[in-house]
């Protein structure tokens, strides 16, 4: 098939991008080559609209072993241990086919983690659906939850925390963000950088089929009414094979056979082989007839673009083929030597003894397009003037009931009971708390992890929203007694080709970066998902942040349930009565405008570190951060989980009662302490706002 501009455009490339390809190659690409370019140059793989801005993220820190750019980020948790973690989106496929979309999202992120030599120890997810009134929501929710559970449960990795939200803006584009944490010894981390000439390139795992061809391109475009036709671009997951692949890879990794390893995720064999060659500044030669195929008569184009799951590409030390093959045979997995590293710095593909592609690796990676797209700065909306008489007519009890029963606040037990959250025998804080916590196997340490996003705040003011999400995860970690270390981010936005959306992206990234820098809480990994749009309607900007922290002595972990009657409850942080963009405002007052609550990074850090200090000194019986729905919502959750009540002292409110209870001012925590410790704690806190159980 001869390639021309029309075919290039059908592949999602723009006219000038096609011209650039011809110029770089000094000829017209053949169809296989065009397929490879389209896979490498789409938004999903090349980050062409986001790269320029992602450089501004704060990514450095004392605990960072590996920042963005590898399969996942790595942080130091002392004693020679490290945590590998990353979050990734699987939004587009999950909307088309919720079960497989979500399942393969979970499978993909786990592969990213064990590719680096780490055994996955915890999964998290952040899932966002349309309005509960939307007729599609129920099926999508059910499918996604089944998919996440189906994959994670079979792998035997506990799903320890998550977030679920419902908002009209996701009616046509749901979000499924999956995060995995893995544990590895610091000196046994594996990277994707190939090295050495004539080293064997090995294919292991499942066979290659025709599923998922153009998956990455599909995820780089908006949806229209032809969405049903895209079903074949969704990959099909096989968690059983992935479990075998995990065990086989870890077994091989315990030796010294591997030079580089890379999973075949988006754009399959294409991106994995090119990334390894690019990082090693080498060429790679592959004989496509050697690739294990599930279907007959697959063409080079199909083999290179398939996104069949559960596959890995490995560059081995010469002479280690037999050792490696033995391990993969034991686990009943395909194993094939499909090529070798070369000094040509080209990717050369052969099929039926003919060369079917020959592309300089740098043209695909370094020379890939990068755009500084136009973006629009957003203004901070004006504060709403709320008529105080409205508050007088609101009954606290009725308002609280409405808020507690709203889909974004109510218990998500129905969801997380479908996830195995206790397998591996180290889950010490289950879903439903501020963070999930797992012990580091056979040590006194524990790792806390949380995932959060606040699209409403980001939509109202992206810069503030970006900061707020980072702080929210920071608080979630502190609330369980963990010292926050680093984050991973999943940036879900509409089309970057629209100035408004691009502006939301740029400013959210700026907010995230500012907060991460101030809190010494760097970004070590992440991904970007643009084009979350259907028929021109985009989602609210939804940057999702996954935070990870360390608890040095797991027995000091804190939970949110009230522990004992007669204890006193204090609020850390100032309540100023910010109602705009709060749940009260949106749900009860039907007011969607106004600025989000201000984020004061100084207070945030100060309050958080103070609480950690109190926890270290064993004063804290329970703690919970104040977020959606304000103080009274947070307290209700502590009461419900602890099966206790609370009695408020008649407080001297400086603001209206409703404002006090439902405001969503940032940087606040509720803590339960023993009355005998009150003086000491007060000295440290030097604050007021007393409430007594």
């Amino acid at each position: 098939m001869l390639v021309d501009e029309k075919i290039a455009i059908e592949h999602g490339l723009k006219t000038d991008e096609y011209k650039k390809i011809c110029k770089l190659l000094k000829r017209t690409p053949n169809i296989t080559e065009l397929g490879i370019f389209s896979a490498m140059w789409n938004e999903h793989c090349s980050y062409k609209s986001s790269r320029i801005h992602l450089k501004k993220l704060h990514t450095k820190g004392k605990k960072v072993i590996q920042g963005p750019g590898e399969n996942a980020g790595v942080i130091d948790i002392e004693d020679g241990d490290a945590i590998v973690f990353k979050i990734e989106s699987h939004n587009h496929p999950s909307f088309i086919e919720p079960y497989q979309g979500a399942a393969t999202g979970v499978g993909g992120i786990m592969r990213d983690v064990f590719t680096m030599g780490a055994r996955p120890i915890a999964n998290l997810n952040s899932i966002h659906f349309g309005s509960t009134q939307n007729k599609k929501t129920k099926n999508l929710l059910r499918g996604v939850v089944h998919g996440i559970g189906g994959y994670g449960n079979c792998m035997g990795v506990p799903t320890i925390a998550g977030q679920t939200s419902f908002d009209r803006s996701y009616n046509g584009n749901i979000l499924v963000n999956a995060m995995t944490l893995g544990l590895v010894k610091k000196d046994k981390i594996f990277y994707s950088k190939a090295a050495g000439l004539n080293k064997p390139v090995i294919y292991v795992g499942s066979k290659t089929g025709r599923d998922g061809i153009h998956g990455a391109s599909m995820a780089s475009a908006s949806f229209d009414e032809k969405i049903e036709e895209k079903k074949p671009t969704v990959q099909v997951g096989d968690p059983f094979t992935e479990k075998l692949l995990l065990e086989a890879c870890l077994e091989l990794m315990s030796g010294d056979s591997i030079i580089a390893i890379q999973d075949m995720g988006a754009a399959g064999l294409t991106s994995s082989s090119i990334e390894m060659a690019s990082k090693g500044n080498l060429g790679i030669e592959i004989n496509l007839n050697k690739v294990p195929c599930r279907e007959t008569k697959m063409t080079p184009y199909e083999i290179m673009l398939s996104e069949s799951q559960e596959r890995m590409l490995i560059v081995l030390e010469s002479g280690k083929e037999e050792i490696a093959k033995k391990i993969f045979d034991k686990w009943n997995l395909d194993f094939a030597v499909i090529g070798k590293t070369t000094n040509t710095k080209n990717i050369e593909l052969f099929f039926d003894n003919k060369q079917v592609a020959n592309i300089p690796v740098n043209t695909l990676v370094e020379n890939s397009p990068m755009y500084d797209r136009k973006w629009k700065k957003s203004k901070l909306p004006k504060k709403n003037k709320i008529d105080k008489t409205i508050f007088k007519n609101l009954k606290i009890k009725d308002t609280l009931k409405k808020i507690l029963s709203s889909p974004n606040v109510c218990s998500k037990e129905w969801i997380w009971q479908q996830y195995d959250h206790t397998v591996m025998g180290d889950t010490i804080q289950k879903p439903g708390g501020d963070s999930g916590v797992v012990r580091v196997h056979k040590t006194d340490k524990a790792i806390a992890a949380t995932v959060d996003s606040s699209a409403t705040y980001c939509w109202a003011h992206p810069l503030t929203g970006g900061k707020q999400v980072v702080c929210e995860t920071w608080r979630n970690l502190i609330s369980v007694g963990a010292k926050p270390i680093a984050v991973t981010n999943c940036l879900n936005f509409g089309s970057p080709e629209k100035e408004e959306n691009m502006g939301e992206f740029v400013e959210c990234v700026q907010g995230i970066s500012e907060a991460c820098k101030y809190l010494d809480y760097p970004v070590v990994s992440g991904n970007v998902s643009f084009y979350n749009e259907t028929k021109d309607i985009g989602i609210k900007p939804t940057p999702t942040i996954g935070g990870v922290g360390l608890i040095k002595d797991y027995k000091k972990m804190i939970t949110m349930n009230f522990k004992e009657i007669e204890n006193i409850v204090l609020v850390i942080g100032k309540t100023e009565g910010h109602i705009d963009q709060s749940l009260l405002s949106r749900l009860i007052l039907n007011e969607n405008n106004g600025p989000p609550p201000e984020v004061n990074l100084f207070n945030e850090k100060n309050n958080g570190l103070t609480l950690l200090n109190l926890i270290e000194k064993n004063f804290i019986k329970s703690a919970h951060d104040v977020s959606l729905g304000g103080i009274i919502t947070a307290i209700s959750k502590m009461c419900i989980q602890g099966n206790k009540g609370i009695q408020f002292k008649k407080p001297k409110f400086l603001i209206n009662e409703i404002e006090y209870f439902f405001a969503e001012d940032q940087g606040r925590y509720l803590i339960e302490i023993n009355p005998k410790d009150f003086k000491e704690v007060s000295k440290i806190l030097d604050k007021k706002s007393l409430i007594k159980i």
Binding site: C154, P239, F240
Partner: protein, 227 residues
């Protein structure tokens, strides 16, 4: 006391079981499904997980593994065999305990704490247990125990029901039944009571930081009974 835990492709509670058995004083060995011979053991455990991905039918392919011949012989000669969750499904498929395990009644995977009532203490697994109701943990998609009326009568006549799902006080009723199991059955014995299959995971309840500690009671008691 010596124990062996069999690892099938897709087992994922094998390590957890090893940790639990070792913690309470068993000398445990991990055995690969493709082996022929069992090491000398006082107890064989088939752990939870998704052997062969639960494809075809849960436990069916694993029940045909090479090692299962030895497990079946070991059981028939009176050796103690325990199958947890997927291990229970394998026991059922291997014909070592009666009945079948269907998909949960509400068609969902369930992961939560449950209470179980121990009725029959005239066996090595539960003898001398000083609690009647234990708090255990379940995590399964196919734990809905079913058998024919004739089988049920036989099972009841032989006192083969090991544990029932119940409330805190030991009452069994439909409301407390998590998966639709007939008679709230959570675990059963073979006729001779040397083979136990149960859905709950005692190995997930072995220290105070986890979901509970009743698993510790179970394992300590089991070890004493075997000694």
């Amino acid at each position: 006391m010596k124990s062996s835990v069999i690892t099938f492709p897709g087992s994922n509670c094998d390590r957890d079981m090893d940790v639990a058995l070792t913690k309470f004083g068993f000398k445990n060995k991990m055995v690969w499904h493709n082996d022929q011979e069992l090491p000398k053991s006082d107890l064989i455990v088939l752990p939870g997980g998704f052997s062969y991905g639960d494809y075809l039918r849960c436990g069916s392919m694993a029940s045909k593994s090479k090692i299962m011949n030895s497990v079946i012989n070991f059981a028939k000669s009176g050796g103690l065999v325990m199958g947890i969750c997927n291990g229970f499904q394998i026991l059922v498929e291997a014909g070592l305990v009666p009945g079948v395990l269907l998909r949960n009644k509400y068609l969902q995977f369930i992961c939560k704490n449950v209470h179980v009532k121990v009725d029959n203490k005239e066996n090595t697994f539960f003898k001398n247990l000083d609690k009647k109701v234990l708090e255990f943990h379940i995590a399964h998609n196919e734990g809905n125990y079913f058998c024919t009326n004739d089988q049920l009568k036989e099972i009841e006549d032989n006192n083969q029901i090991a544990i029932y799902y119940c409330d805190l006080n030991g009452n069994t009723n439909d409301q407390i039944n998590p998966n639709g199991s007939i008679k709230n059955i959570a675990g059963i014995f073979n006729k001779e009571k040397n083979v136990l299959g149960m859905m709950p995971h005692p190995e997930r309840m072995i220290d105070e930081s986890l979901s509970g500690e009743d698993g510790s009671i179970f394992f300590k008691n089991l070890l004493n009974n075997i000694k």
